[in-house]
């Protein structure tokens, strides 16, 4: 097991280097530079521009900029935002809890709804129930998130008035952020109704963000279940006279979970992409919205830093998934 873990960790190094290179080149490949954008219609005179470029180190050759950037990363320095003049790392971790909270709620929704739906569809294979679940999943999978979010806002917040439009908590509540997780902070604040308000604000964005992963998980669960249910050991379990619930819930599902867990792990990456749109529409102050704003401003260090941190997090999540996978399926450790 230790060798397996070390092997996985060693593979992270070249991946991480690759990510730094991609993050570094990506923002530089986009046309337009931050200083011109900042100056706008008025423009900036060439001397002043050269001076600002030099201050930010952009007058250096690209390879040198890249090496400096790598050197700084090793010291834990991801640079400073052009716009806010604050360290990228500080901004990232100030906003990250909001994204994690939203993503966890969404993945929770996707798993607790997606897996049972997949199991039901598999056991009712070929029936109307199966076809409706899979049809709905296909619609969910193809859903344009931005449109879907706006539609839910207009219906549930606008027409019915059931949920708040956007934000993380009602503006009536005003307390110190302790953990950055609104659900926890609202409980800690002791203010009456704060926790309920935080939950209400989470409902719509979680549904929107969960839509695609839910569809994927349901479909994956269904096909994994179908495969497992044809196996000999399931037939044996049935033959032993076990109840259908035990056969499906224990013998089949446990084995079907292996590919599903991989899918869930991969969906974390997809979810961060979905978070960019979801956060934008629900004014959710997380890293997705921050990244989009920074790309528009050509805030080089923020884009580089944010991509790197997000990639690092996805790599860690995948590592955890791999390890879990190894735990569930000892054959893989070999």
């Amino acid at each position: 097991m230790l060798r397996f873990l070390l092997g996985r960790l060693a593979m992270l190094v070249p991946t991480f280097l690759g990510v730094t290179l991609v993050a570094f080149s990506f923002i530089r490949l986009l046309p337009g530079d931050p200083i011109e954008l900042l100056a706008g219609e008025r423009g900036i005179n060439p001397e002043r521009k050269a001076q600002l470029m030099a201050e930010m180190g952009f007058d250096q050759p690209l390879w040198k900029q890249y090496l400096d950037y790598l050197g700084n990363i090793l010291q834990g320095d991801l640079g400073t935002s052009f716009a806010s003049k604050q360290p990228v790392v500080d901004e990232f971790f100030a906003l990250f809890p909001a994204t994690v909270e939203l993503s966890l709620c969404a993945i929770f929704l996707a798993v607790v709804i997606g897996i049972p739906l997949g199991v039901i569809a598999a056991t009712k294979r070929g029936t109307f129930i199966d076809q409706s679940i899979m049809g709905t999943a296909l619609v969910g999978y193809s859903m344009p998130i931005f449109w879907w979010g706006l539609l839910l806002i207009i219906f549930f917040s606008g027409t019915l008035g059931w949920t708040p439009v956007s934000g993380r908590i009602s503006l009536l509540y005003f307390f110190e952020p302790v953990t950055g997780f609104m659900l926890i902070d609202s409980l800690l604040s002791g203010e009456e109704g704060a926790f309920a308000s935080a939950i209400q604000h989470l409902i719509l964005p979680s549904i929107v963000l969960a839509t695609i992963p839910l569809a994927v998980i349901a479909r994956q669960t269904r096909s994994a279940m179908l495969e497992v249910m044809g196996e000999d050991y399931v037939r044996t379990a049935r033959a032993k006279g076990l109840s259908p619930f035990r056969v499906i819930g224990v013998h089949a599902l446990r084995n079907a979970m292996i590919p599903v867990i991989t899918t869930i792990g991969l969906q974390i990456g997809v979810m961060l992409a979905g978070a960019i749109l979801t956060e934008t529409i629900f004014s959710w102050p997380g890293i997705g919205k921050w990244l989009i704003d920074s790309i528009t401003r050509r805030d080089y260090f923020v884009v580089q830093g944010a991509l790197l941190l997000i990639a690092a997090i996805i790599m860690i999540v995948n590592l955890i998934v791999d390890v879990l996978y190894g735990l569930i399926n000892p054959r893989i450790r070999g």
Binding site: G32, L37, L38, K85, L150, V165, K289
Partner: protein
């Protein structure tokens, strides 16, 4: 930081200023984006100014609410020397800085604060010149203040004198702009001692109508009325900016009562807002102009008669209908009608394709094929440049001119469009900074701007002399006369096709009282009340 928050919350509770209390008057403004920081002198974006300069700070002189008139601010009065080189400001006495959880002022505003606020921008060796990583004084620079100010003299505790290198009539209007906000030197000194200079850009202390409470990044900014405000406490108790980037979501929040005022509505939503009995839609002609600049240094656009002929072929009404959807007015001058010195005598461009064709032939232009540059972004002065370019393309086709529409990414567009050998004509526009005609005519059409913000690359001696002379006079009516003459020269030479001035809309709850739209485009909440 955390300790400070805790003491703040305790303090607020002790003072009974709970945000939830019934008696407090709270106004929530759905703003379009996050401020970059809270030191307005470091930035150029309106969103940042709304959150910093307008809410928290004052300046020596201020724009009167809803106008571009310059009125006394922190300076009660001022004298301008005969030669226009010395501006002496007499400061108001008893002006209090904000007392906040992070700073308790021990003294009132003096000349030291004013001098500190400007010298940090002016002097390269000032200890606060580079106080934040990558920070620069962009607006101060772009308004040419370093070339203009010779020195700033402390005459006494309550008198400050600005000595200029050349007379500059727009100086007063410049000093009402956000970069000229007055910060507290005492607060800066305290931060310097604590080795936390960068906090000045994160937790501001000013003398303005509202004091800063807290900023939760990308989510909420909270302010409280400044009890000791020199012009009297605000009718509102608390002001809250709820940052909401999507215009459709802002409207939904407004309708749901989650905010009371929202910025920049979608043009398509205007009718819905008008029909909603709980909402008011304010509108005002923006201080802007959308135009098409010919490259006047390249043939055949170097001939005024060619430019005049092309202008005559543009159907402006079609553009107003299709691009501005009625929320705009045809432009005949390079400055908007709400600006002083606007020339009423100017005749609007005639729309006459037949005559245009004949004029082009007379000028010896045949089978002309040209590029028109269309901006890739939506701007207040041009909601849809691509569509505008297409309309002009079809207009020009009627007079036998073939148009190829080109576009670049915005940063690239801004940069390439400045090049002197750029081809064809370019869609562009401008929103005024300070309400002074010089801010349009000199920046956009003066000889100094060639290769820069003068994208027509147009340098006309007669025009330039008029605007240069106007800059040196302090008498407004004399200046207005010169600017009117300059507009006549502009019209005769036609370096641009002036297209339109747009209308800016502001939806709000009917509970909001006394809101005045700012012609300069900022969102101000001083003097605003809520029922």
């Amino acid at each position: 930081m955390k300790k400070v928050y805790r003491s703040l919350v305790a303090g607020l509770l002790a003072a009974g200023v709970s945000m939830g209390s019934q008696a407090a008057k709270n106004l929530v403004y759905c703003s379009e984006g996050s401020p970059e920081g809270f030191d307005p002198a470091l930035y150029t974006a309106g969103t940042t100014f709304d959150a910093s300069g307008r809410a928290v700070y004052n300046r020596l002189v201020e724009f009167d609410r809803g106008t571009t008139d310059v009125i006394p601010g922190l300076a009660e009065s001022w004298d301008i020397s005969e030669d226009g080189l010395e501006y002496t400001f007499h400061l108001r006495k008893g002006v209090k800085f904000h007392k906040t959880r992070f700073f308790s002022p021990t003294r009132e505003l003096t000349a030291d604060d004013v001098i500190f606020s400007f010298e940090r921008q002016l002097q390269k060796d000032h200890p606060w010149h580079q106080y934040t990583a990558g920070g620069s004084w962009e607006y101060f620079q772009s308004m040419s203040m370093p070339d203009l100010i010779s020195e700033i003299v402390r005459v006494d505790d309550y008198t400050v004198k600005f000595v200029l290198k050349t007379p500059q009539a727009p100086m007063l209007a410049n000093l009402a702009m956000d970069f000229a906000s007055i910060v507290s030197k005492e607060y800066a000194d305290q931060l310097e001692r604590q080795n936390k200079k960068e906090i000045l850009n994160q937790m501001p202390v000013g003398t303005g109508p509202f004091k800063f409470v807290i900023y939760q990044k990308d989510a909420v900014i909270r302010y409280q009325a400044h009890e000791g405000y020199w012009a009297g406490k605000q009718p509102l108790d608390n002001l809250i900016f709820a940052i909401t980037t999507d215009a459709s979501v802002r409207l939904q929040k407004l309708k749901a009562g989650e905010c009371h005022v929202a910025s920049y509505p979608n043009p398509a939503d205007l009718d819905i807002i008008r029909k909603d009995g709980k909402l008011n839609l304010m509108e005002q002609e923006g201080l802007n102009v959308g135009y098409m600049a010919y490259n006047t240094q390249m043939a055949p656009f170097d001939k005024p008669e060619v430019r005049l002929a092309l202008n005559m072929a543009i159907n402006k009404q079609a553009i107003l209908d299709a691009v501005f959807q009625g929320a705009g007015s045809a432009a005949k001058n390079p400055i908007p009608p709400t600006m002083w010195s606007y020339s009423q005598e100017t005749q609007p461009d005639e729309y006459n394709p037949e005559k245009a064709k004949a004029m082009l032939e007379a000028a010896g232009v045949k089978d002309l094929s040209m590029n028109i540059w269309a901006m890739p972004v939506q701007r207040p002065y041009n909601p849809n440049a691509r569509r505008m370019a297409e309309i002009i393309q079809s207009d020009f086709a009627k007079i036998g001119v073939k148009v190829n529409i080109v576009s670049y990414e915005w940063g690239e567009y801004l940069s390439r469009s400045k090049e002197v050998d750029r081809d064809g004509a370019l869609l562009m526009g401008w929103t005024g900074d300070n309400g002074d005609p010089d801010n349009f005519l000199a920046v956009l059409l003066g000889c100094d701007g060639v290769g820069g913000s003068n994208r027509a690359q147009w340098c006309n001696e007669e025009f330039d002399q008029l605007i240069q002379k106007a800059k040196t006079l302090s008498d407004k009516s004399e200046r207005a006369e010169l600017y009117k003459q300059a507009q006549a020269v502009f019209k005769r030479e036609a370096p641009w096709a002036t297209i339109a001035h747009s209308v800016v809309f502001m939806p709000m709850s009917t509970r909001v009282q006394n809101y005045r739209m700012d012609p300069l485009g900022s969102h101000r909440f001083d003097g605003v009340d809520i029922q």
